[in-house]
């Protein structure tokens, strides 16, 4: 199983810290899972121009291909101007419409204000649903005071991230099993 942790913005550190923490849980609990961290701050991404994702080169090609090869993706997003960052939306635009078919996608959100708690429900989930993701419905919402000196200090958040990691793996295994059985039943 391949799980990619995607930190969806080009600036700030909190989203990456939370993604890191989630991937660490996965690596510890499920050593057989191959985890990859991709922080968009580390890559020079092109804007989508409508081409097939295989036709992008450099960092853009690496990021799109790595996401397409994943069995599950943990998306971390900050909230910018009451929405997801443009850098994350660009990732969705770069991928084909059915990119998340047969993939599990889970989410964590870091925000400067608790007033943004609905953004993932109203803005991120509809995109993932359109792209055919199987979603871990419960996401983890993290605010400024949960961090101190580049670390998550709120134990409740750490527990929730642990559950997010478990749910991501369990759901991916479950859907893989269901799919295998269903595909075998077709007998072709």
């Amino acid at each position: 199983m391949k799980i990619v942790g995607l930190s969806g913005s080009q600036i700030g550190s909190k989203t990456r810290i939370a993604i890191d923490a989630t991937l660490k849980v996965i690596a510890e609990k499920y050593p057989e899972v191959e985890t990859t961290l991709m922080d968009l701050a580390d890559y020079k991404m092109e804007f989508s121009d409508g081409r097939n994702y295989l036709d992008y080169e450099g960092d853009t090609g690496y990021v799109t291909k790595t996401l397409m090869e994943a069995d599950a993706i943990v998306i971390g997003t900050p909230i910018f101007q009451a929405s997801i960052p443009a850098s994350l939306k660009n990732i969705f635009d770069l991928l084909p419409v059915n990119a998340f078919r047969d993939k599990v996608v889970s989410m964590l959100v870091t925000a400067g204000s608790a007033k943004h708690y609905m953004v993932a429900d109203t803005q991120l989930k509809p995109i993932l649903a359109y792209m055919k993701a199987q979603m871990v419905q419960t996401f983890v919402f993290i605010v400024e005071e949960d961090f101190y000196q580049k670390e998550i200090i709120n134990h409740d958040v750490l527990f929730r991230l642990e559950r997010l990691a478990e749910d991501t793996v369990v759901l991916t295994e479950t859907f893989a099993k269901i799919r295998e059985e269903k595909e075998a039943a077709y007998d072709f």
Partner: protein, 352 residues
């Protein structure tokens, strides 16, 4: 229809197309050499002609896993090896070519084949060729529209006066040689959405509609939009042929057909498009109302006749060889087409 060398009284035409893909056979993981693949395609056309197939076309894709980038050259070999079957491109990416050169090539092909050549012009679904051939992807739409217009202008006039944005102007230019009858059929390749079909309709150009899968009734909207646009553009839709093109596979029964075809489509699409074909969607391909023609010969006959009732199209074009399909399976399909499918669909669609 005469202008397009089609006589509907003879019933629906049955054609075959290949994208010219060069993919491994998923059963063995092995891929024949590019030389073998090109010879295989030429042989495929010869065998199709022997089976009584009306039309054979070869596509142009400038990317990994394809062998017929120089599709006009391959078609030229086919023209020489055959004598009755119509030959065409599927499609010629006119956006990244000079329409004058394309016309010279295909007019020559028409002379070699004694009036059997046609051009299907498209825009390419993958864009690697823009960089390879030195064009800017930003002009994707404009390049196609301008060059396609010029291609049609050359077809209709031996002396051309033209100026545009992407090519040097033509002043009293004579484009030679001319096809056997002075002009030849030129089709617009359409991806299946009404928007694209309407452009073909407004211009009064025959439509070559490619499709993957789905309900035939869904594509009826595209066909209706095409004919409506043609009417709005001052053309008579009854004089404009429509061709549909998609996956085809015949075997003893539908389950066997799915078994033999699916791995080729799924693995081939993974390699060429970066995403496979879901089994669930593919399984629906055998349904009588699905546009994919997969099943027993009898089921396929019923499907094609149903599609003909829905679309009233003049030509159906089958894609059989995608994804490293072994030549033996292709031959088996051609035999079923020649002995069972073709006679039945001609019998039911020809005017007595």
């Amino acid at each position: 229809m005469e202008k397009y060398r089609i006589n509907p009284d003879n019933g629906i035409e049955f054609g075959i197309y290949t994208l010219g893909d060069h993919l491994p056979n998923p059963a063995t993981g092995e891929r024949i050499s590019v030389k073998e693949r090109i010879h295989e395609i030429i042989e495929y056309a010869v065998l199709a002609e022997q089976a009584g197939v009306d039309f054979f076309s070869v596509g142009e894709s400038h990317q990994e896993y394809f062998a017929t980038q120089a599709h006009a050259v391959v078609l030229s070999a086919i023209a020489q090896a055959t004598s009755k079957i119509k030959i065409a491109s599927s499609s010629t990416i006119i956006s990244t070519s000079d329409p004058v050169r394309v016309y010279e090539n295909f007019a020559t092909l028409d002379l070699i084949s004694d009036g059997r050549a046609e051009i299907v012009a498209g825009r390419a679904s993958r864009i690697g060729l823009y960089e390879l051939l030195g064009y800017n992807l930003r002009n994707y739409e404009e390049l196609f529209e301008e060059k396609f217009d010029l291609l049609r202008l050359i077809n209709e006039n031996e002396i051309v006066n033209w100026s545009g944005e992407f090519r040097a102007p033509l002043r009293d230019a004579q484009v030679l040689p001319r096809p056997v009858n002075g002009s030849m059929p030129i089709w617009r390749a359409v991806g299946g959405t009404p928007a694209s079909a309407m452009k073909a309709g407004y211009a009064g150009v025959p439509m070559f509609m490619a499709h993957l899968g789905g309900a035939a009734s869904q594509f009826k909207r595209t066909v209706d939009s095409y004919r409506e646009a043609a009417r709005a553009g001052g053309h008579n839709p009854d004089e404009l042929p429509i061709a549909t093109a998609g996956f085809f596979y015949a075997a003893e029964n539908s389950q066997q057909a799915l078994k033999e075809l699916y791995p080729h489509i799924n693995e081939g699409m993974k390699k060429t498009n970066g995403g496979g074909f879901p089994k669930q969607l593919f399984a629906q391909g055998v349904d009588p109302h699905n546009i994919m023609n997969i099943g027993s010969p009898q089921q396929i006959i019923e499907k094609i006749l149903y599609q003909h009732e829905v679309f009233n199209h003049q030509r159906y074009i089958a894609q059989i060889d995608f994804g490293g399909m072994p030549m033996d399976n292709i031959k088996k399909n051609l035999e079923l087409i020649g002995t069972e499918i073709l006679p039945a669909i001609k019998k039911y669609t020809a005017k007595k």
